[in-house]
């Protein structure tokens, strides 16, 4: 019996009277690997934030691991990589190791402390993402791609069951990007980590993810790539060429 990681029921979100999300109902089950795509302003990031309880919905209900996000406390089950750091200060005086260790706070109780015994988990994620050599550098000294890997390490270090990644590959070079996707594949297949990844890369996401969630303020499509590719409705909505592009993995 698959466990619902997230269950959203008729979810809406409005900002300044403008409708950003409308009538979103979906279930994400354990082991899903979902590519969340849609045009600019389609509400992808808002949906992620609403599911996490970072933004309150204007209507509808959400259950995160069966609980209302406001009452949810098992944050160690979740690894989150935000779209970008709002107001990131390049002179922030923190080393990579310090930033990555923040990902372990979710499993700590009051008063939250990072201990020597946490080093093993931190070193494991450094090896996984191949960032050992930059662990003592200041975050502001790194390139965009390296910073993104550090933030990904922060999301992964707590070994979460549910990984939410908002445009994680924008600053990665092709080689690092491929490595990154194979790491995600391994996590999904070997450790059954549930993944939702926001991306603009509609042509490639089908190679990696098992499900597609196409959003444009409301759900246009949510299901397996096989169903998407054979759907006459989707062929009508996107046109055959665009549908074929998204289904590129089967070409």
């Amino acid at each position: 019996m698959p466990v619902d990681i997230v269950c959203a029921d008729r979810l809406c979100f409005t900002y300044n009277a403008a409708e950003v999300l409308c009538d979103i109902s979906l279930q994400i089950t354990a082991g899903d690997y979902i590519g969340l795509v849609g045009p600019n302003g389609s509400g992808k990031t808002t949906l992620i934030k609403t599911l996490l309880g970072l933004l309150p919905p204007s209507a509808g209900r959400i259950a995160l691991f069966g609980r209302n996000p406001a009452e949810f406390s098992d944050w160690c089950k979740i690894g989150y990589l935000p779209q970008k750091l709002t107001g990131f200060n390049p002179y922030f005086p923190a080393r990579v190791k310090e930033i990555v260790s923040l990902g372990l706070l979710a499993r700590k109780r009051f008063p939250r402390r990072i201990a020597k015994t946490d080093e093993a988990a931190i070193n494991r994620v450094f090896s996984l993402l191949d960032i050992h050599e930059i662990k003592d550098k200041r975050i502001g000294e790194l390139s965009g791609g390296q910073q993104q890997r550090v933030l990904l390490a922060r999301a992964l270090v707590g070994e979460p069951e549910f990984l939410i990644l908002d445009e994680p590959t924008t600053a990665l070079d092709p080689e690092t990007r491929d490595k990154f996707f194979s790491t995600l594949k391994e996590l999904n297949q070997n450790q059954r980590v549930t993944i939702i990844i926001v991306t603009h890369d509609v042509a490639d996401i089908g190679k990696y993810a098992s499900k597609l969630l196409y959003l444009d303020k409301r759900i246009i499509f949510f299901g397996s790539f096989e169903n998407f590719c054979s759907s006459a409705d989707m062929a009508r909505y996107f046109g055959e060429f665009a549908q074929h592009l998204i289904c590129h993995r089967h070409s």
Partner: protein, 272 residues
Amino acid sequence: MELLHILSYGFIQRALIAGCLIALLCSMLGVFLVLRRLSLIGDGLAHVTFGSIALGLLLNVSPIYVSIPVVMASSLWILKLTEKARLYGDAAIGIVSAAGIAGGTLLASVAGGFNVDLFSYLFGNILAISTAEVGISFVLSLAVIAVIVTYYHDLFSLTFDEEFAQASGIRTKRINSIFILATALTIVLATRVVGILLVSALLILPAVTSLQIAKGFKPAILIAAIFGIISVIGGIGVSFIMNLPTGATIVMLNLIFFSAAFSFRSRRYQSQ
């Protein structure tokens, strides 16, 4: 010999104890404030301190007992304005600061005009600090240091990335309130050291000096604390020997430290 002679005075001993404690608080909190772009909260809340001191003088109550609750309430007002009124921190600080100055001026006028007491708060007079005030500073300083040490990792996470901190289960609203209340308490204490007009210098300068050279978050806080304490000890000594105003001397020493750290950093980058 001269130094030992200075240290034998009771008022110098009191000034050193209270000054070092307050410098320690300002420097530690300053690192978080500067990185969160709330540097000018020192100015804003110091202006509220001005208003509350005027109220204290009007009511004939020791100003510190009026300032502590009024400034703490105002700090929460800044927080609420940024959350509810869709304002950035600088605008919210501006509103509360203006309310403090305007309120203080009106109260001083009602009391029959400005008097010497009120002006002594504008520029600070740490050498006139009483034993009771040293006691209050000691107790409150311990409370604020305990808050920073207890919530160090929560504050670090929140300062770096508030959204991620929230998704880690950190109660960001509660931590923000605790942090801003600790800041308010520190500012009330710091107005006695450098005065209302220079209090933000004690929050900002040790922090920005440290940020020039620190290579990690903990070292940044430690270096800021060291510079803050040295500036107070040096400022008290130099001002006493050269007969200069203590608050302004402390701030000038901090500026010298900042310039030195900036030059050191520039040379280090040039040589790399």
